[in-house]
């Protein structure tokens, strides 16, 4: 099951770290970094059903779009 309830231990810090990770990169480099990051996180999650659900949710913009 994909966790959609709050689950980040330190939301502000983690989000700031994500922004900081991109500092000084060109747009292309940032996109490539995001791609690597997605792959690393995908592997951590591992479960195909959870990932499929996450991709659907992302495509639906978090479930708001019809």
């Amino acid at each position: 099951m994909l966790i959609t309830t709050p689950n980040l231990t330190r939301p502000d810090e983690t989000y700031a770290a994500l922004i900081a990770t991109h500092e000084g990169l060109s747009e292309a480099e940032s996109h490539a970094l995001n791609a690597r990051l997605i792959l690393i996180l995908m592997n951590h999650i591992g479960d195909d059903a959870v990932l499929t659900e996450a991709m659907r949710l992302a495509r639906d913009k978090g479930g708001q779009a019809a």
């Binding site: 996109h31 490539a32 791609a35 690597r36 997605i38 792959l39 690393i40 592997n43």
Partner: protein, 538 residues
């Protein structure tokens, strides 16, 4: 005089020269039990399998042997096992190059290497590399052997099929020869006439799927280089000879080199030897001497016919389905078509099985084709990403693969051909939960060493009852078939591959060496029911 059957390609081996047949003078068309159209690897194997089963078979091809183009290169373990059943594997194994190690590069970096690490205890290696004309020649040699032993196989070279007229109880064919046209009739017709299948066109049948917008240049080069016998694949190679590149060894000091050129190219220009040499030079580096042996540019498609059986016409091999070369699934899957079809057609012709059994050729091999198309489509999408974002994700995978093993599992330069398991087939009987998943009903039997040889070698041409630690009669007779028993000792391999956690096992094995059903004890009623099911009587 005009040549009525012109050569469309040059031959590597002239195998069945044209000779006039009495059928050409017959007042009424001669009727044959089975006619196979096409003498590529699949048509030859079909004729051989049927002939070895005693089914009279006539093969027609518009050439007189194997074409010069190398094309197929990697032949899989399952193909070799099937060829062994047909008596053709020995010379293939002797001439073929065995390999296990693959290396994957991105730009100028080695990302990782893999080893096919074949499981011990199998008669055949995971793959051999052998030029397609040699594969066809060895298949033909086995046909000559079979003919010498009395197998009713006839081959007619420079016999081109120009029209097919299907009828309720036969199919009529118009055939062109150097001496002019004649007509033939067949109870059953097997179309092995390749990806462009004229027969499919004559019957107005569609062949749908995806076209991949990319061109690949193959350069088979002859050189005495000391590159190891490995499969080397480059994504975005530093030598810039293509968007991807492949180097793979063949027999006779020949190396297959393959460059991905992109979509908008000038074919004629790219095929000029000087331009090919420029790409090869950049790849091999300075001072490597080589000769160009065979070069070609190909594009490819992944597609299949909606159905492989159309009444009395059955399609097999590339005429029925086509995949990209990544994964070596073309000829290998066609050989599995033959393996699936020949015993079924032989039983139907014997009157031992209903015609409906042939519908399971369609359902089982459509399942196989879909698996191959899925795998080869995914490999192709990885090798030639279709959008900027898919290219970015692909390159992210490659970047991570150098240091992070998980990313290597996603890298896809072709998932190499494995035989298909017919899960859910109507022919499958009971399964047993304590036994290994790899030998569930529908699976091809994994080989294993057994007393005095190899397991697959000990399976008969028909059905076999395999028993491990279970009493059973030496022969079971049911539904007009005699099923001999093969009793095996529970060696470590047999335990691992067939017994699992069960105390004893009884397997009903089909003539194509796929598992039909399995139990932990023998029961005449249960085996007889499964046999009826496996021959389409239920």
């Amino acid at each position: 005089m005009t040549d009525l059957v012109p050569e469309r390609y040059t031959l590597a081996f002239r195998l069945y020269p044209y000779a006039k047949s009495p059928d050409q003078e017959a007042a009424t068309p001669a009727r044959h039990k089975v006619i196979v159209v096409g003498g590529g690897p699949i048509g030859l194997a079909t004729a051989l399998d049927l002939g070895r089963r005693g089914v009279p078979v006539l093969l027609l091809d518009d050439h007189e042997g194997a074409g010069l183009g190398s094309r197929a290169l990697c032949f899989s373990k399952r193909t070799l096992e099937i060829c062994d059943r047909l008596g053709a594997a020995g010379p293939m194994l002797d001439k073929g190059v065995q390999w296990n190690v693959g290396k994957v590069f991105h730009d100028d970096r080695l990302l990782y290497e893999f080893n096919l690490l074949p499981e011990a205890g199998h008669a055949f290696p995971a793959f051999i590399n052998l030029q397609q004309p040699w594969f066809e020649k060895f298949m033909h040699d086995a046909i000559l052997d079979a003919q010498a032993e009395g197998a009713p196989i006839e081959l007619r070279g420079r016999n081109r099929v120009d029209a097919v007229i299907p009828a309720a109880d036969h199919v009529a064919l118009d055939v062109m020869t150097p001496d002019g046209p004649y007509r033939l009739e067949a109870d059953w017709l097997i179309a092995c006439d390749g990806a462009r299948s004229p027969l499919r066109g004559m019957m107005g049948l569609s062949f749908d799927g995806r076209v991949f917008e990319d061109n690949f240049l193959i350069a088979d080069v002859k050189m005495k280089a000391d590159f190891p016998t490995e499969r080397w694949f480059w994504f975005e190679p530093h030598f810039k000879s293509g968007d991807s590149a492949l180097l793979h060894k063949q027999p006779d000091d020949i190396w297959r080199i393959d460059f991905q050129l992109g979509w908008n190219i000038d074919r004629a220009k790219e095929l000029e030897p000087a331009n090919i040499r420029a790409r090869v030079d950049a790849m091999l580096g300075p001072g490597v001497e080589y000769e160009l042996d065979w070069c070609s540019i190909y594009t490819f498609q992944c597609r299949r016919m909606g159905r492989f059986r159309h009444g009395r016409v059955l399609f097999a091999g590339d005429s029925a389905h086509q995949v990209s070369p990544f994964g070596a699934r073309g000829a290998n899957s066609g050989i599995q078509d033959v393996d699936n079809l020949a015993w079924k057609l032989a039983l139907v012709l014997d009157g031992a099985a209903p015609e409906a059994l042939l519908d399971t050729y369609d359902s089982e091999r459509v399942h196989g084709a879909d698996e191959n198309i899925l795998n080869s489509t995914r490999a192709t999408d990885f090798i030639t990403p279709k959008t900027p974002v898919s290219k970015m994700l692909r390159n992210a995978v490659l970047e991570l693969a150098e240091t992070l093993p998980f990313a290597r599992t996603v890298v896809n330069s072709g998932r190499l051909s494995l035989p298909c398991t017919y899960d859910g087939s109507a022919l499958n009987g009971p399964d047993h939960a304590a036994m290994p998943a790899r030998t569930r009903p529908g699976s091809p039997c994994p080989d294993a060493p057994v007393a005095g040889g190899w397991l697959l070698n000990r399976l008969g041409r028909g059905f076999t009852l395999l028993t491990i630690g279970a009493p059973a009669p030496e022969v079971l007779t049911a539904h007009g078939l005699a099923v001999p028993r093969l009793a095996l000792d529970a060696t470590p391999e047999i335990r691992d591959r067939y017994l699992g956690d069960a105390e004893a096992a009884v397997y009903l094995i089909r003539p194509d060496q796929h598992v039909a059903a399995r139990w932990d004890h023998y029961s005449a009623g249960a085996v007889s029911d499964a046999l009826a099911r496996a021959i389409g009587k239920e």
